[in-house]
Amino acid sequence: MLTKKKLILLLSPFTIFFCFVFVSAFIKSIVTSLGYYPLMGLKTLTFKYYMTALQDKTFLTTSLRTFCFALLSAGLACLGGLALALVLQRSTGPVGRFGFKLAQLPVMLPHIFVILALLQLLSQTGLVPSLLVHLGWLKGPQHFPLLVNDPLQIGIILTYLWKEIPFVIVSLMLVLRSLDRRYSAVGQNLGASKLQIFWHISLPMIQPALLNAFIINFSFNFGAYEVPYLLGNPRRELLPVYIYDFYVQGDLTQMPLIMSLNILLSLFAVLCAGAVLYLSRRLPGGHLGGLK
């Protein structure tokens, strides 16, 4: 058992790093977003950059698009992960064990690996269209549907699903394994059907883990830059790409506005996470009281 002193000592490197790097950067961003930027002679605190951002139609449209897209990707990942976790949990033999090991693999691989793989496979000059043309199933590669840099952002969604479905599986399997059949047996004995057991017992018990995985996936999808930059459609760019493009233009007078956009993006992600946590506590399963 760790003593309090030992715990504090062990956590201190991370805490110091977090306080100095993250918190100081965060405070600097807030201060800049409020118009205090002495480098450019700006020394008056004001909300005008926030007001400008919130009146910017492009920013609002991009934010809504990013929100819908992040919600869809995270939702699909949770649904797919839940279904596969339930299948894997029922397969107790070597196939199930192999499936679970396989599911852990994509969690370990970096996004860039998947991005490059998708570009190699699914772009119109990629391996799959070439193979289909070779087999005579396509007249030419230009007839292959646009899945990368496409307006519907399918390439980005596929990349996220590749990483996030396994993440949901791993998160849920840990809970499902601890539940084993104990509570299902109670439900069965009290007369519940298999569907009722799933709906009234299993689902509420994994609900907190499922929604936690949703929050992590949603927050990542909402704020990630490299995947939408490489696989997204430039005409329908997502919020992180929009903000970063703004930032790299190098106009220092725009820095308070850029930082206000950045803070708004972070604030929105935190608010969404808070809303989902609030919802999770009020849904069946919100009170598990330390599962025994």
Binding site: V186, N189, L190, G191, Q196, I201, M205, G289
Partner: protein, 332 residues
């Protein structure tokens, strides 16, 4: 309605967990299945609760081809995400009973159980005794004819155990229940039931009344499980036994004469200081300790040490006494 277990066997992998179990349980009876851990007790209950299927054999009632007992689990297994009232009404909800009727029945059963004030609490906010009452209410609200209880009192402390034991007896009479319960505490079995089946290694070794179980265990496994006895190894000399403490005539309860006899001397009701027709041995008293109405006396005969229960102040430490068997001693 009586219930019958007919040649019930259960095999998992290569392990035979239950072997040809035959039992008859009378209506409105409290029937105890007593045995050590890993003896197949829980597997048998799961079969009677239709959570598990036997490999062979069947369980049926006089008027019911497939009776299903409602099981009260050892760890209660209250759903942690549901309040007390939600736990209790779960079975009715699954049967699509309207909410108003569910709540009315829950109010009734909670009043009987003395847990009306706990309705809105969650299981982690309840004590062990309260959890057990909720688990019982969750079963009884379904008005079952057969209630199964898996080690019902093992998680409770001594005082609460006796209280719950009496409470279960009272419920059994009030609701006219047939209760089958499994335990590895013989005192629980004796206090709650007039018929006790001893289940060891998947086999019912003995079915008897508590007093007779203690006086005449069917075999060495039962005697060893019941404990509270001395087991002295011996050898046959013609028709008598020779052990380190006793040489003389003996009897046995097993079908065949044991090949390597073990003299069975229970702590209670087997040895006395009063002269009888069955002289046992002369022993020195090493120690005597108060255990309620009796004293647990430690004796030494040669190099063998054994224990017996005697009336208080019957012996003095350091003194030697002649002991007598109350009846012809038993070997296994």
């Amino acid at each position: 309605m009586a219930y019958y277990l007919e040649k019930i066997s259960q095999t998992k992998g290569h392990q035979e967990i239950l072997k040809q179990i035959d039992l008859k349980i009378e209506e409105n009876e409290v029937f105890a299945i007593l045995g050590p851990s890993g003896g197949g007790k829980t597997t048998l209950l799961n079969i009677l609760a239709q959570i598990d299927q036997p490999t062979s054999g069947r369980f049926y009632g006089d008027n019911d081809a497939q009776p299903k007992g409602i099981l009260v689990f050892q760890d209660y297994r209250l759903f942690p995400h549901m309040t007390v009232v939600q736990n209790i009404t779960f079975g009715l909800k699954m049967r699509h009973i309207p909410k108003k009727a569910r709540l009315a029945r829950a109010a009734e059963i909670m009043k009987t159980m003395g847990i009306s004030d706990l309705a809105k609490r969650y299981p982690d906010e309840l004590s062990g005794g309260q959890q057990q009452r909720v688990a019982l209410a969750r079963a009884l609200i379904l008005k079952p004819k057969l209630v199964l209880m898996d080690e019902p009192f093992s998680s409770l402390d001594e005082g609460l155990r006796l209280e719950m034991l009496n409470f279960v007896k009272q419920l059994q009479q009030q609701f006219q229940l047939t209760i089958i319960f499994v335990t590895h505490y013989k005192n629980e079995a004796y206090l709650l039931s007039n018929q006790v089946a001893i289940l060891i290694d998947g086999t019912v070794m003995q079915l008897d009344e508590p007093a007779h179980l203690e006086q005449a265990p069917a075999n060495l496994a039962v005697a060893e499980f019941l404990g509270q006895a001395n087991f002295i190894p011996g050898t046959w000399i013609d028709k008598t036994i020779k052990t380190a403490i006793y040489q003389g005539p003996v009897t046995w309860h097993t079908a065949k004469k044991p090949v390597t006899p073990t003299l069975y001397i229970p702590f209670a009701q087997f040895l006395q200081l009063t002269v009888s027709d069955y002289p046992a041995f002369k022993a020195q008293v090493l120690d005597h300790r108060w255990i309620g109405n009796l004293e647990r006396v430690t004796l030494q005969v040669g190099t063998t040490v054994l224990s017996v229960n005697l009336p208080p102040n019957a012996v003095t430490t350091g003194e030697s006494y002649d002991f007598y068997f109350k009846q012809l001693p038993v070997v296994y």
